[in-house]
């Protein structure tokens, strides 16, 4: 049987969901691959929901909201944009093709367009092919860890405010600069997670053994180990042959 992409859509109640209904009323025919979760606003969609969908074997996820400026909740779709921007970046970092996530706007009057958007997205995912669950599942799980870090969520949540109104010191931040900070944080979290999984795989672990497993140099790994220890996430158990051996804290080793 030909490959049929498995797609999930998060549709905002006021625009995209209404547009999807209008597509029905207008009998617009489009591929039957997507299942819909209705949310009141696209701003409700947490990056965690999207990554969760990939972890659960979906090949593509669409987040559809109102056109910029038309949000029923004023700014919800701008928030959605920031959150999906984070999600795209996290997907890129953990190795799930960001093209599998679609963020687009469909108004309540755009039944025809809704059909087109879904048709195009279905074709796009069909070309990308199925997402290998065994490979993507753990990647998505790492992504979820990153997207649930309070520091990153804070940065994303505050982004619009800091760019538009400035930080607590009144300095307006440059958007590109903020994006760099965000990216660094994602990379950091990703690397920390890599290290944590390396320890998880062979605990206790030493800096050289971790460095080999995660393909980083020992100096970098060591810096992360200090960070992680300060954050109370790893603990130096003992020292064997001059090499400190670390174990994870607050997590049951698998």
């Amino acid at each position: 049987m030909a490959y049929e992409p498995k797609l999930l859509g998060f549709l905002c109640n006021w625009c995209a969901y209404a547009g999807a209904d209008l597509a029905g009323v207008s009998r617009v025919q489009y591929p039957p691959n997507m299942r819909v979760i209705r949310v009141m606003c696209s701003g409700r969609v947490d990056p965690l929901h999207v990554l969760e969908a990939f972890r659960n074997g979906m090949d593509g996820v669409a987040v559809l909201g109102c056109h910029p400026g038309d949000c029923h909740y004023l700014t919800g779709n701008y928030q959605a944009e920031r959150k999906m921007d984070l999600t795209f970046r996290v997907m890129e970092k953990v190795g799930i093709d960001p093209d599998r996530l679609l963020l687009d706007w469909v108004s309540a009057a755009e039944g025809q367009r809704f059909g087109e958007v879904i048709t195009d997205f279905t074709e796009r995912i069909r070309e990308l092919g199925p997402l290998d669950a065994a490979d993507a599942g753990p990647k998505a799980a790492v992504g979820e860890k990153i997207a649930s870090m309070d520091r990153i969520r804070w940065l994303v949540g505050k982004e619009r405010d800091m760019v538009d109104h400035g930080n607590v010191y009144g300095d307006k931040l440059d958007e590109a600069e903020l994006k760099d900070i965000l990216w660094n944080n994602i990379v950091n979290e990703y690397n920390r997670e890599l290290i944590r999984s390396a320890i998880r795989a062979g605990s206790p672990a030493t800096v050289p053994s971790i460095a080999e497993a995660v393909e980083m140099d020992t100096a970098t790994v060591f810096k992360y180990m200090i960070d992680l220890e300060n954050a109370g996430q790893v603990h130096m158990m003992d020292i064997v042959d001059d090499d400190p051996r670390y174990i994870l804290v607050g997590e049951v080793s698998e």
């Binding site: 625009c15 029905g24 009323v25 009998r27 299942r35 819909v36 009141m40 990056p47 700014t75 405010d161």
Partner: protein, 1008 residues
């Protein structure tokens, strides 16, 4: 005068009567609804689809039927007629005869009696235009309200002869059949009356040349609606009556019984052009091989969104349009039909079709004459209720109001607007009697389901064939039975019908259901209906979930039943998973500020403000200019010769005299905050900003005349607009001996794709004035389609009688306006002669398109309401909620909605006021309980939610354990932005919790 009776009589249970009754009952008045037929629903219930959205007619109507059936303040009397009306406004005594139904209220609607009837299959069902059979005991249609069978006294053997085995009585499990039942005379006291008896279809036999009644395959448009309908005679298959074959070539003949002096119906029926397009599109949808052809005189698609519907019909659906006059229809030996017609160029032609549909017009009907006599109201020459342009809902008897097709042909949204408008008038008349005769809705105590395991009931709807034909519904039901927590599953033909609601209540009790899932259409339209049923069953309304297997499944995957079924099963599985997690929500109610804000001081705004004030509500009326009136200031007289400036003056005076209307001139609304019932806005006035608190908003900002970019406008001063021409006529300035009027200047072309609706009538109005003043003056009207819809058609006839010359042109053959020396010439190709016509004109008057105001975009954003493709404000539902916005508490009137006549603006303004009044009169509003929910132990008081909340609904409060976020329930609109951003994942959204979303995702992955 003593206090008026706080009750209203509504005559007629079609969509007009229904809307009036619901508005009045919601606004605190007792309503007696009298319907002649055994069930309410009227003509709308018979329609298959509605234009221009092709919405399923009964699907959108059914929730309203159910609302009427169960409204505690509406007393429904079907099979009944009004026999006498005495008294006067404020205190009428009405006599009503309720004809013996011979079936008591014990009827459960099981159909066993009809099955048992000895005449089964031998009588014809009127609801199906007699294309389908019925018994002598029957219901008109499956979703009928009340769902109570009725004995047809004319045909029933027992009633007629007293000699029948009465198998029906034997079969009835409820002992509901009572042949001793007698007619009942009732007397009710009411303060005012709304007449909504509707229309009858033209009796096509009267036009013998079309062969109706003689040729099997000539059907009326109403019969064709039944043929298209899934619950109709052919179950939605397009078949022709003579041999049951699928017709390929189908012709529609328009204006059958309309625009026709020979049958006494000189008027235009207004809706037939668009409904024939609809029927052609739907027929083609049912069977792709159908080749529809529409024969017409002028294509009158003047309504909102109709012109693009016409364009789609032609471009996308390949429907053929032939401008013509039909001479006759003949039948061939094979029962095909040969149409002989005269083309626009005057050529006689013939073409053969498999089936012919006669687009019959709307007539007042026989019964209304008696009704009019009983009420003492005057009818016009055609038998329609007489009204004035400035008083569209008023009869000539005070206290008796009218809406819908009784006062002239009109479509559903126009009827709904007038119905709400009539409710405003009827309510204002007796406003001091508000609340005196109504009952509080019976409160069913809510069952506490906490601690119970989820017990889910699943209902899968066929929606006639809308779902059933494309999704294997029994398979979905069977599938649902096997899902976790599902204790009961069943299918319904229509889950939204009244009997389905009763069954649902029974099942909830019988199976101890604590969650209900309906898999049918969209929650956006039907969730409130089912939630109300849950309330009646003693369940919290929020223990309800819907799976959208129609709009987002069966309708969009019509060619692959297996896949559509699989998708429907997935959607049901996901919804069941979610349903297991949903929790009851407590509804909070808040006081409503009983004051309205009306934005725009033109005709619609002034009318709405006065209508609200008449009901006793204070109003802030905001006008941008330095005087009230808007576009009305440039209108001097109407088609009926009413003096507009005088009327404007009277409105301004009445507003000035009102103590409770606060007028702000040179002012603009700069800020709108709050929510339904509790808005807080800022009006920028010349004296500085003013803060106003109000419960409702009416948008009446109007539209503007566009500036023509062609025909030498602005280059030659003899080329003017119709508005300027009207001013000159009104002020007695000379307009010359030859006037050429050019229509559709910027309308129905690439600059504005829609029709501006009023220009044809305006041109006729001015042309008549010129000819009446100076019969020797030459007036030419160059037009594309003459759109003098409804009763305006007789003025078109009058203009022709006066010698106004009408010349038609096409978009690709526009007239050319030139100057030749001093002469101003207009050149246009005359179709019949096939020659160029030269007009040397003193004045060329253009009909510029009406376009939306440029500043509406800012207002739309402030109000968070949408605009349509043409840039006009988009209402909540084009058919049934024409003056509501999807945003609660905000309403719409006048040309901000779309171009319209003064009469229509007035009707819509009253309608908007009526809708606003139902809100203001209640005094309280229920607040959305699906709001943010904070887990305090996880909150670190970072304040990100406070920063990001678009509605200032979050605050930080010092509590034990530090600063914590707290929701302000009345302000929270439940968007969920805070939940998706919270760094500590401490916020979730009630009713859209992370657990619910996760459950749906995991359920989609596969059966756990």
């Amino acid at each position: 005068m003593s206090d008026p009776v706080g009750a209203v009589l509504v005559v007629g249970g079609g969509i007009g009567g229904i809307q009036s009754a619901l508005d009045l009952a919601d606004a605190g008045f007792k309503v007696y609804m009298v319907e002649d037929k055994p069930a309410i629903g009227g003509a709308m219930a018979q329609l298959d689809k509605t234009f221009p959205t092709n919405d399923c007619s009964l699907c959108i109507l059914s929730p309203k039927l159910v609302d009427v059936g169960r409204h505690p303040n509406i007393e429904l009397m079907t099979n009944s007629s009004v026999t006498a009306i005495d008294g006067k406004a404020g205190d009428f005594t009405v006599k009503i005869t309720e004809r013996a139904r011979r079936v008591t209220e014990a009827c459960v609607g099981c159909n066993l009696c009809a099955e048992a009837c000895v005449l089964k299959g031998r009588l014809r069902n009127e609801f199906d235009e007699e294309l389908k059979e019925r018994s002598a005991i029957y219901i008109p249609y499956p979703q009928a309200v009340p769902l109570r069978y009725v004995v047809d006294p004319v045909n029933c053997l027992q009633v007629k002869t007293g000699k029948c085995a009465m198998k029906c009585v034997e079969a009835c499990p409820a002992n509901a059949i009572d042949f001793d039942m007698q007619d009942i005379e009732r007397t009710v006291e009411v303060g005012s009356i709304v007449m909504a008896p509707g229309f009858e279809g033209f009796h096509a036999e009267a036009k013998g040349e079309y062969g109706y009644g003689r040729f099997d395959n000539v059907v009326t448009s109403l019969e064709f609606e039944r043929i298209l309908s899934a619950s109709g005679p052919y179950e939605g298959h397009v078949l022709r009556p003579s041999d049951g074959k699928e017709p390929k070539r189908i012709a529609w003949i328009n204006c059958v019984g309309s625009r026709d002096r020979s049958c006494g119906n000189e008027y235009c029926s207004s809706v037939c052009c668009t409904y024939s397009i609809k029927e052609a599109i739907i027929a083609k949808e049912h069977s792709g091989s159908v080749e529809p052809t529409i024969f017409y005189m002028d294509m009158r698609t003047h309504g909102k969104g109709f012109e693009s519907y016409l364009n789609r019909a032609e471009d996308q659906h390949g429907i053929r349009f032939i401008r013509s006059r039909i001479s006759e229809v003949q039948e061939t030996p094979g029962k095909d039909l040969r149409i002989r017609y005269e083309s626009e160029e005057g050529a006689l032609r013939e073409e053969t079709f498999d089936m012919v549909v006669l687009s019959i017009g709307l007539e007042p009907g026989e019964g209304v004459k008696d009704l009019a006599e009983t009420a003492g109201i005057s009818l016009d020459d055609f038998g329609f209720c007489e009204t004035e342009e400035t008083r569209p809902m008023e009869t000539d008897v005070p206290g008796v109001f009218v809406c819908g097709a009784f006062s002239g042909p009109k479509d559903i949204p126009e009827t709904v607007m007038e119905a709400s408008g009539a409710a405003a008038k009827a309510g204002a008349m007796i406003s001091s009697g508000r609340g005196t005769l109504v009952e509080e809705r019976e409160f069913v105590p809510e069952r506490d389901v906490s601690g119970e395991e989820p017990r889910i009931g699943v209902y899968v709807c066929h929606c006639g064939i809308n779902i059933g034909a494309y999704v294997d519904v029994p398979a979905v039901v069977e599938y649902a039975r096997g899902l976790p927590n599902v204790v009961h599953a069943e299918e319904n033909i229509y889950s939204c019908s009244q009997d389905a609601q009763h069954t649902l209540i029974d099942r909830i009790k019988e199976h101890g259901l604590n969650r209900v899932l309906v898999a049918s259409c969209t929650p956006r339209t039907h969730e409130p209906l089912f939630q109300e049923t849950l309330r009646e069953a003693g369940l919290n309304a929020h223990l309800f979930e819907m799976a959208n297997i129609r709009d987002q499944c069966s309708w969009v995957h019509m060619d692959d039943k297996a896949t559509a079924t699989e998708k429907a099963q997935d959607l049901v599985r996901m919804s069941v998973a979610r349903a297991a997690h949903i929790e009851p929500l407590e509804e909070l109610s808040l006081d409503v500020i009983q004051h309205g804000l009306v934005i725009g001081g033109g005709l619609a705004g002034m009318t709405a403000a006065l209508a609200l004030a008449d009901q006793g509500f204070g109003v802030s009326l905001v006008e941008q200019e330095d005087a009230l009136g808007g576009n009305m200031r440039n209108i001097h007289y109407t088609l009926d010769n009413d003096n507009v400036q005088e009327y404007l003056g009277s409105l301004v005076d009445r507003i000035g005299e009102s103590d409770i209307i606060d007028v702000h001139l040179n002012a603009k609304v700069s800020e709108i905050g709050g929510f339904v019932g509790n808005f807080e806005s800022v009006i920028d006035t010349p004296d500085g900003p003013e803060r106003v608190e109000h419960g409702a908003i009416i948008v009446a900002t109007g539209a503007v005349e566009s500036a023509p970019a062609e025909y030498l406008f602005g280059e030659d001063e003899r080329v003017i607009s119709q508005t300027e021409l009207e001013r000159r006529i009104a002020e007695g300035e000379p307009v010359g001996r030859t006037v050429a009027m050019i229509q559709c200047v910027g309308s129905r072309d690439e600059s504005h794709t829609y029709c501006s609706r009023v220009c044809c009538s305006d041109a006729i109005k001015n042309a008549i004035r010129i000819k009446e003043t100076d019969p020797s003056a030459q007036v030419y009207i160059l037009y594309r389609d003459m759109r003098t819809y409804g009763l305006k058609e007789s003025h078109y006839g009058r203009a022709r009688e006066l010698g106004v010359v009408f010349v038609r042109f096409d978009l690709d053959g526009k007239p050319a306006v030139d100057t030749d020396g001093d002469a101003l010439t207009v050149k246009v190709k005359e179709k019949i002669l096939g020659e160029e016509l030269f007009i040397e004109a003193d004045i060329v008057a253009l009909a510029p398109a009406i376009e939306p105001r440029p500043d509406r975009v800012d207002l739309a954003k402030m109000l968070k309401v949408p605009l349509n493709e043409d840039g006009f404000f988009l209402e909540a539902h084009v058919k049934l909620r024409p003056v509501d916005f999807a945003t609660d508490g905000v309403f719409l009137a006048g040309m901000a909605h779309s171009p319209k006549t003064m009469e229509e603006s007035i009707a819509q303004a009253y309608a908007a006021a009526a809708r606003a009044s139902t809100l203001l009169a209640k005094g309280e509003v229920r607040v959305n309980p699906a709001i943010a929910d904070i887990t305090e132990e996880m909150c670190i008081g970072c304040g990100l939610c406070v920063t990001n909340c678009p509605f200032k609904a979050m605050e930080l409060v010092l509590k034990e354990g530090g600063r914590k976020a707290q929701v302000i329930p009345a302000s929270c609109k439940g968007c969920g932005v805070c939940g998706a951003s919270c760094p500590k994942l401490a916020i979730t959204m009630k009713h859209f919790t992370n657990e619910e979303i996760t459950a749906q995702i995991e359920a989609y992955r596969g059966v756990a």
